[in-house]
C-alpha cells in the first residue's frame, strides 16, 4: 500500500483502491456466484487470437489473466536456419501493421556486428519509411479505437487515409504490407521519381485525418467518459511492468528511444517533440498516439526536404557473413520498444536471435490493470493498450 500513499494522485488512488476492493467484495454481499468468461481466443476485441480469462462478479472483473501463444509462429527458432538477408522477410510479419519498422532494428544490429554503416541517404530514407510505417500502424489504431467503443464510422476513415500511406510504401518498396526493403548496409533501391512531392501531399492529408479524429472521436463526450479515468497505470507500475512506447509516455515517463538512443538514423536531424501525459488512463494513451502521428508527419516532412545525395548502399560483400559476436539494438517502434539480440558465430545466418517485441510486455500488465473494472472497460483498456497479436506471439 505504500505505493498508493507515495506517488499516486487522487483519481489514480481511487482506481487502485477500487481494484483492491473488488477482490474483497465477491461472495460477501449477495452470496452470488462468480462466472468465468473466456474473452477470446476468437473475439472481436482481441483483433487476433489473444485469450483473456476473466473471473466476473456480475459485470465486474475480479481476476483476469491473458493467455497468449495461440498464434506462435516460432520466429526466433526460424531465424537460426535462415541467412541474414532472409530474416527480414520473417520479422516484418511480427507487427504486421508497421512491418518496415520491424526490419530496421535487426538490420541495425547486424550492421553493428559487421561494423558497416548505411550511407546518409539510406539512413534518411530508412527513417522516413520507418515513420511512414508508424503512421500506417497508429492511424489504424485511431480508427479501431472507435470500433471498440461502438462507433463504427472512424475505422473507415482510418482505412481510407491509411491507404494513401500504404500506396506510398508500395511505390517506394514494391510491397504494400511487407516491404522487405531494408538491406545490411543500406536499402534495396532508391526512391522513385516524384515520390517526395507525393509524400508531402499525403502527410498533409494525414494531418487532416488527425484533426478529424480529434474532433469527431476525442472530442466526443461519450468517448471521454468511456476512457477518462479508466485503466489508470501509475508511473511506477508502468516502469515495473516494463511497458514501453506510448503506453509508458502516457503515464508521464519521458522516454523515447528515437531521441535517447544514438542510432545511425536521421531522427536527430528533424525537430520534433516527445509528448507525455500525466494521467496514465486510457484517454492519455490514445491521445499520446494521436500526437505521435502528428509528430511523425512532421518528421517525414522535414526529412523529405533534407535527403542528402549519394548512394543508398554501402560497400558490403555479396555473400554476407557476420563476424562472431553479440549485438543488441532496439528502436522505438509503433507499439513500443522493439529490439533484437543477435548472437553470431560467423556463419551465413545468426546462431540465435532473441526478439524483444513491445506488445508482449505491454499486455503483461493486464492482470493488474483489469482487476475491478467492468466488462465494457476491458475492451477500452485492451484497445488503448494497443497490441498486435503477431507482436505478442511472434
Amino acid at each position: 500500500m505504500s505505493l498508493t500513499d507515495r506517488v499516486l494522485g487522487d483519481r489514480q488512488q481511487l482506481a487502485y483502491i477500487a481494484s483492491q476492493a473488488a477482490d474483497a467484495r465477491l461472495n460477501v454481499e449477495l452470496e452470488t456466484e462468480g462466472m468465468t468468461l473466456n474473452i477470446g481466443p476468437q473475439h472481436p476485441a482481441t483483433h487476433g487470437t489473444l485469450r483473456i480469462i476473466a473471473r466476473l462478479d456480475g459485470e465486474q472483473v475480479v481476476w483476469a489473466e491473458p493467455a497468449c501463444g495461440y498464434m506462435h509462429r516460432g520466429y526466433e527458432k526460424l531465424t537460426e536456419v535462415r541467412t541474414y538477408p532472409q530474416v527480414t522477410t520473417l520479422v516484418n510479419r511480427i507487427d504486421w501493421l508497421g512491418s518496415f519498422a520491424n526490419e530496421v532494428p535487426f538490420i541495425l544490429a547486424a550492421e553493428k556486428l559487421m561494423e558497416v554503416e548505411a550511407p546518409p541517404r539510406a539512413q534518411h530514407i530508412r527513417t522516413i519509411l520507418f515513420e511512414l510505417s508508424r503512421i500506417a500502424n497508429v492511424s489504424l489504431f485511431l480508427g479501431d479505437l472507435g470500433v471498440q467503443l461502438g462507433a463504427i464510422t472512424p475505422v473507415f476513415l482510418a482505412f481510407r487515409d491509411r491507404e494513401y500511406v500504404l500506396n506510398l510504401i508500395e511505390s517506394a518498396t514494391g510491397g504494400r504490407f511487407h516491404p522487405n526493403f531494408d538491406r545490411i548496409g543500406g536499402l534495396k533501391d532508391d526512391l522513385p521519381a516524384g515520390w517526395v512531392d507525393e509524400t508531402r501531399a499525403v502527410m498533409k492529408k494525414l494531418r487532416g485525418f488527425c484533426d478529424q479524429i480529434e474532433d469527431l472521436l476525442f472530442g466526443n463526450e461519450i468517448f471521454q467518459s468511456r476512457t477518462r479515468g479508466i485503466g489508470v497505470i501509475p508511473r511506477e507500475v508502468a516502469l515495473q511492468y516494463g511497458l514501453s512506447g506510448a503506453n509508458l509516455r502516457a503515464s508521464g515517463v519521458d522516454w523515447d528511444l528515437r531521441r535517447d538512443h544514438q542510432l545511425p538514423m536521421a531522427w536527430n536531424k528533424a525537430d520534433w517533440k516527445v509528448w507525455t501525459h500525466p494521467d496514465g488512463d486510457s484517454f492519455a494513451r490514445c491521445w499520446i498516439r494521436l500526437q505521435e502521428t502528428r509528430e511523425s508527419t512532421k518528421i517525414v516532412d522535414q526529412l523529405l526536404g533534407s535527403i542528402p545525395a549519394g548512394p543508398v548502399m554501402a560497400k558490403v560483400p555479396k555473400i554476407i557473413k557476420v563476424p562472431e559476436g553479440e549485438a543488441w539494438v532496439s528502436t522505438e517502434n509503433p507499439l513500443g520498444e522493439m529490439g533484437y539480440y543477435i548472437v553470431s558465430r560467423g556463419d551465413l545466418g545468426p546462431f540465435r536471435v532473441k526478439i524483444r517485441s513491445a506488445s508482449f510486455n505491454n499486455i503483461s500488465i493486464t492482470p493488474w490493470l483489469l482487476r475491478g473494472v467492468y466488462v465494457p472497460d476491458i475492451v477500452t483498456i485492451l484497445a488503448s493498450l494497443y497490441f498486435i497479436l503477431g507482436d505478442i506471439d511472434r
Binding site: 462466472m35 468468461l37 473475439h43 472481436p44 476485441a45 459485470e59 472507435g146 470500433v147 471498440q148 467503443l149 461502438g150 462507433a151 463504427i152 464510422t153 473507415f156 476513415l157 481510407r160 469527431l216 472521436l217 466526443n220 461519450i222 468517448f223 467518459s225 468511456r226 467492468y374 466488462v375 465494457p376 472497460d377 476491458i378 475492451v379
Partner: protein
C-alpha cells in the same frame, strides 16, 4: 379502415388487416435497411455500399434474405430449444401488435382504441421478454450478459418514455392516437392556425426525451450495449443464425420504423396536414383522398425521424451500462417529471 370496408365481410376485413399490418411493418423496415443501413451509412463512411444486386444495390436486401433463409437453423446443444426458438418471434410480434394502433389516415386505421397510446407503451415492452429469454435460453455467457443488460436498459428507458408521452396526453386531453393527430392539426398556436399545433413545438423537451428513449429501446448506439459487437460479440443474438437471426434483424428495423411512426403521431401531427389549409373543421369533414395521401405523409415523417435515429447510431460511440442507467434515472426522468408539472400548470392556466 372499418369505415372503408363496411361492406366487406368480417373474415375479409380481418384478412385485409393482417395484410395491411404486414405491409405497414415490413415496407418501412425494408426501406430503412436499404436507405439508411446500406446507403447512408456507406456514404458517411466514404464507401458505396452494395452496388451489384439491382440498380444501385436496391435488391440487396432480397439477396440477404435469400441467404439467411437458406442457412441452417442451428440450436446450441445446451440451449433451451423451445424457448430459444420462440424468442425472435416474440420480439417481432410486439412490433406487429404495436402497429395495430397507429392511424395512417382519417379512416385508414387498424383499430381505434380509446387508450391507444397506453396500449402501445404496454405492448412495446413485450419485446423485452423476447430479448431476455433469448439471452437466457442461448446457454451462452455473452448472450446472458447481453440479455440482462437489455432487460435493465429497456426497463430504465420505458419510464422516461411514458413520462414524455404524458405531456402530450395532457395537452391533447386524450389517449386516442387518432384524436391526438386531430388535436394537433386542428389546433392553433397564439391564435394562428396556419401550421396547426404540432406538439414538437410546445412539448419539445418531451419530444427530445421520447427520441432518446426510443434510441435506447431500439438498442441503437450510443445505447447498444445489449448487442455490443465489440465486447459481447452480439449479445443476445450471438447464437442465432439463419431465419431466426433474420427475424431479429427485421424486428430491429421494423420496430425503429413503428416507434418513429408513433413519435410522428405524438409530436409531428401524424398523417395529417393542418386542417385550415383545406377548410376542414373536424375529422368527419376530411376529404377521402387523405386516406391515400395520409400514409405517404406519415411515411415521410417516419423516415425523417428514423434518419435522426440512424444518424446518431452511425456516429456515436457506446455508453457504458452504469453511465446509461445514470443518464436515465438522474437525467431524463427528473426532466420528464418537471416537463409534466410545467405542462399541467400551463394547461390549467391557459
Amino acid at each position: 379502415m372499418s369505415a372503408l370496408l363496411a361492406e366487406v365481410p368480417y373474415w375479409g376485413q380481418s384478412l385485409l388487416r393482417v395484410l395491411g399490418g404486414i405491409v405497414a411493418v415490413l415496407l418501412p423496415a425494408g426501406t430503412i435497411v436499404y436507405i439508411f443501413l446500406f446507403k447512408m451509412m456507406s456514404f458517411m463512411q466514404s464507401r458505396l455500399g452494395p452496388m451489384e444486386a439491382g440498380p444501385y444495390g436496391s435488391m440487396q436486401l432480397f439477396a440477404e434474405v435469400g441467404k439467411w433463409l437458406q442457412k441452417e437453423d442451428i440450436v446450441p446443444e445446451r440451449a433451451d430449444a423451445r424457448i430459444f426458438k420462440m424468442a425472435p418471434v416474440i420480439v417481432l410480434l410486439s412490433t406487429f401488435l404495436l402497429v395495430a394502433v397507429v392511424p395512417f389516415g382519417p379512416d385508414a386505421w387498424f383499430t381505434d382504441f380509446e387508450t391507444g397510446i397506453f396500449y402501445a407503451l404496454a405492448v412495446s415492452s413485450i419485446s423485452v421478454l423476447g430479448i431476455l429469454i433469448a439471452g437466457w435460453s442461448s446457454a451462452n455467457k455473452y448472450s446472458l450478459l447481453g440479455g440482462l443488460r437489455a432487460a435493465g436498459q429497456l426497463i430504465a428507458y420505458e419510464l422516461p418514455m411514458v413520462l414524455a408521452v404524458i405531456g402530450v396526453v395532457i395537452q391533447a386531453e386524450t389517449m386516442n392516437l387518432q384524436k391526438i393527430v386531430v388535436a394537433q392539426n386542428s389546433g392553433s398556436m397564439f391564435g394562428i392556425d396556419t401550421f396547426g399545433h404540432p406538439y414538437v413545438i410546445s412539448q419539445f423537451i418531451g419530444f427530445v426525451i421520447f427520441m432518446i428513449a426510443i434510441q435506447a429501446e431500439l438498442t441503437q448506439a450510443p445505447f447498444d450495449m445489449p448487442i455490443a459487437e465489440s465486447e459481447l460479440v452480439s449479445g443476445y443474438m450471438t447464437e442465432y443464425s439463419g431465419f431466426r437471426f433474420l427475424i431479429f434483424f427485421i424486428g430491429e428495423f421494423a420496430t425503429a420504423g413503428v416507434f418513429a411512426m408513433i413519435a410522428s403521431v405524438l409530436f409531428l401531427g401524424g398523417w395529417g396536414v393542418p386542417f385550415s389549409w383545406f377548410g376542414w373543421t373536424s375529422i368527419d369533414s376530411i376529404d377521402n383522398w387523405m386516406n391515400v395521401v395520409g400514409p405517404l405523409i406519415m411515411f415521410t415523417k417516419m423516415m425523417l425521424l428514423v434518419f435522426i435515429i440512424m444518424w446518431i447510431r452511425f456516429s456515436y460511440p457506446r455508453l457504458r451500462e452504469d453511465q446509461l442507467q445514470r443518464f436515465a434515472w438522474k437525467g431524463l426522468i427528473p426532466v420528464a417529471l418537471l416537463n409534466i408539472a410545467v405542462t399541467s400548470i400551463l394547461k390549467v392556466v391557459f
